[in-house]
């Protein structure tokens, strides 16, 4: 069974139809790269998956469970939505770290708030908080920022901030981790460190969707590539298929624009 199945998702803002029926499937452990020019709907698609936007039509299934069905209005309460969101994680283009908290607190906050809902939290408060902290420290080490554990976001470079954001997104162990142009807001010399962290996350049990303009990265890391244009999936296949033998005229035009730059 596919870990993620997206069927015919549509989304309009006013008169502008941004997604015109997008569908794809993903298997567990896959890395999917979504490429395409600005305005093609890549970011909107990710935001729909994370329920930051509500699609006008379509269905989203995770592990065969229907998470979203535009035809079914009743399952949209805030509490329901929260649970569904936890299947996904999202790393933003602009990091969106919490500026008033240090690196450790940024990573622990959501875990701690969530564990407070467990019935035995009051009894085992100390142990649970210690567990949360240990897990956060391990994640911070994984993104290579152990020496910045107590620094505040404003004291970090953009690349470091984005690595903290990745650790924060990993904290709740989402089944599918999404990256929305994770290096687009960074200086060129800082993109490498972030891409390296993402590359190292690739393993059999982490499923990732990366919206990116880094073609080299997409080619090397992605198992599957989707090229989007004008709100539809123009081409889809393995990295080799899409990059080396694009079938669609628009895909070829997109790549030739890229190489000219």
């Amino acid at each position: 069974m596919s870990i993620l199945e997206v069927r015919d998702v549509r989304k309009s803002f006013g008169d502008t139809e941004v997604l015109k029926g997008v569908g794809f499937t993903m298997e567990k452990g896959e890395v999917l790269a979504i490429i395409g020019s600005s305005g093609s709907g890549k970011t909107t698609l990710l935001r729909c998956l994370n329920f930051l936007e509500t699609p006008d039509a379509g269905r989203i299934l995770v592990n065969g469970e229907m998470l979203f069905d535009a035809a079914d209005m009743c399952a949209r309460s805030e509490a329901e939505l929260r649970k569904k969101r936890l299947h996904f994680g999202l790393v933003f283009q602009s990091f969106n770290l919490f500026p008033q908290y240090n690196v450790l607190r940024n990573v622990t906050l959501a875990m701690e708030l969530l564990s407070r809902e467990s019935p035995d939290f009051k009894k085992n408060r100390k142990e649970i908080c210690q567990e949360v902290e240990n897990r956060a420290l391990a994640l911070i080490e994984r993104v290579g920022l152990s020496d910045k554990t107590h620094a505040y976001p404003c004291q970090l470079s953009g690349g470091q901030q984005q690595r903290v954001a990745i650790a924060r997104a990993l904290a709740l162990s989402p089944e599918i981790l999404c990256f929305d142009e994770p290096t687009s807001a960074l200086d060129p010399e800082l993109t490498g460190e972030v891409l390296k962290v993402i590359r190292n996350l690739k393993s059999s049990d982490s499923t990732m969707i990366v919206v990116t303009h880094e073609m080299e990265f997409a080619r090397n890391v992605a198992d599957k590539v989707i090229f989007m244009a004008d709100g539809i999936i123009e081409e889809e296949g393995t990295a080799q298929e899409v990059f080396d033998n694009p079938k669609s005229e628009r895909t070829r035009a997109f790549f030739s624009n890229y190489t000219e730059q």
């Binding site: 994370n50 329920f51 930051l52 805030e78 509490a79 929260r82 649970k83 969101r85 936890l86 996904f88 994680g89 999202l90 933003f92 602009s94 969106n96 770290l97 919490f98 500026p99 008033q100 906050l109 959501a110 708030l113 969530l114 505040y152 976001p153 404003c154 924060r168 997104a169 904290a171 709740l172």
Partner: protein
């Protein structure tokens, strides 16, 4: 008349000013937050009702509002101001002054809160949402601290204005410091008027230091 006697009288008057100041802050700060939620509500009747209310309160003189609270309940509706609240004796005049000040300042505070809350980037809310936080968790754990940092300078301004506005209570015969200082002119003394200014200067000086201290407390981060 000796310096000591004048000091004693003025101190007594300034006590009234301090009561108005303290009680107004105590009630207007939380009430202002409620009003700001109303003015940001997505339920438009509530939003427009609140915004009209804020417009009226900010658009008319506080002095007029003092008169209205003082005379309208009694003369139009036959309602007598309670003179005991929670076991504390309050004169009807003081009661009217407190009500008018609380409503007036809550309206101003609500606009400061609204400005602060609306200035927080939407990305902060979205980051909370994708991390599975509830609305209240996002507000209290993520947004509120950032709002507080941003509203400290305008709040300081408003609070210092409040210190001096408390004298307006004299128009409904609350015997605050300026009322008493002016009474000395009847015996030919002018200097108590200037002396009363020293009380305000000192109080505002302390507040300026306090707000500066709070601002520095929040200096540890940017954003």
């Amino acid at each position: 008349m000796s310096f000591q006697t004048v000091t004693k009288v003025l101190l007594q008057g300034f006590g009234e000013n301090c009561v108005i100041f303290g009680v107004t802050l105590l009630f207007a700060l939380p009430l202002g937050l409620l009003i700001s939620f109303g003015s940001m509500s997505r339920f438009w009747p509530l939003k427009w009702l609140t915004r009209t209310f804020v417009w009226i309160i900010r658009g008319t003189p506080l002095m007029l509002q003092l008169f209205v609270v003082m005379y309208v309940p009694g003369l139009l509706f036959g309602v007598v101001m309670p003179n005991r609240v929670l076991g504390i004796t309050v004169s009807p005049r003081m009661m009217s002054a407190l009500i008018a000040f609380i409503i007036n300042y809550a309206a101003y505070f609500s606009e400061i809160y609204r400005g602060g809350i609306e200035s927080i980037p939407v990305g902060q809310y979205e980051a909370g949402q994708v991390l599975g936080m509830t609305g209240p968790q996002i507000f209290f754990k993520v947004v509120l601290m950032q709002v507080v940092k941003r509203i400290i300078p305008p709040m300081g301004n408003e609070v210092i204005t409040l210190v001096k506005d408390t004298s307006l209570a004299r128009v409904i015969a609350v015997q605050e410091i300026l009322w008493l200082a002016e009474e000395f002119t009847a015996v030919g003394l002018i200097w108590p008027l200037f002396y009363s200014g020293v009380f305000f200067l000192t109080f505002c000086g302390v507040l300026t230091l306090l707000f500066g201290y709070i601002e520095r407390k929040f200096d540890y981060y940017r954003g």
